[in-house]
Amino acid sequence: MKRYILYSMFLGLIWCFVHGTVNFNNFLIGALLGPIVIRPFRSLYGFENKISYQKVIRKIPKLMRYFYVLFIEIIKANIMVAKIILQPKMDIKPGIIAVPIRTKTNTGITAIANTITLTPGTLTIDVSDNKEVLYVHAIDASDPQGLCDSIRDDLEEYVLEAFE
């Protein structure tokens, strides 16, 4: 029950933003509609996990650093893909490579998969069944080992810190 109230308040806030005006009436409507949304998708909200507020608050600086890194990487990714597209002669060496990951939780895997897709030259295709390997399509796959290393050292560190 406590969990329902917490998530409803969060959804109420999102409702305010979708509506455009942030005030108490909108927040109340959103929060009342929240349980109707949460109930059918209960299994996705992780009701069995415990959450501790201290842990969440301690993560905030790390999350901010993660979003900062993500923002920089998105800009770099766009410039890189723009360069490839505008080249008069297309010389690319694409390929799908397997990248081992250290994250174990579902949230962490989702975060790292989305981060890989938004960063330069890489696109997540699938997760292996045992959740240990991500299949990543790279626009320049001439050096698979180097790409694995760069994902592990540059991106996964931040994701591990922020989401685990």
Binding site: T21, V81, I85, P94, T117, L118, L123, T124, Y135
Partner: protein
């Protein structure tokens, strides 16, 4: 004497031009790149920044009016959903046997799920 409105207009127009330019590049990439996976690179990354630029331009124009808040929300949702959509399209394409283009050098996914 420069007014605030003028500066707002300049920033807004600049962001709009940048956003529209990136959307245009995404479309050029969609035509020029060889296969479905490379095309997804163009549409997700470039589409994200392009749409986000247009949304930011709306915010710069109107400030925190209802329409501006909505624009921020839409931008954040695009940022969240574009990678998921790309991942599902790529995965479905590969499982249906859409091959990689002939320039491709390696395919470790195909080895794993060869049917």
């Amino acid at each position: 004497m420069i007014e605030i409105g003028l500066i707002q207009d300049i920033i807004s127009t600049f962001l709009l031009v940048v956003g529209a330019f990136f959307v245009f590049l995404g479309m050029v990439g969609l035509i020029r790149l060889p296969d479905v996976y490379n095309r997804l690179h163009a549409t997700t990354k470039i589409g994200t920044l392009g749409a986000f630029g247009v949304m930011l331009s709306i915010v710069a124009k109107v400030g925190l009016e209802p329409i501006g808040v909505k624009a921020i929300t839409v931008g954040l949702f695009i940022l969240l959903t574009a990678p998921v959509a790309a991942h599902m399209i790529g995965r479905a394409a590969h499982r249906h046997g859409v091959g990689l283009c002939k320039e491709s050098v390696i395919d470790e996914y195909g080895k794993e799920y060869n049917k």
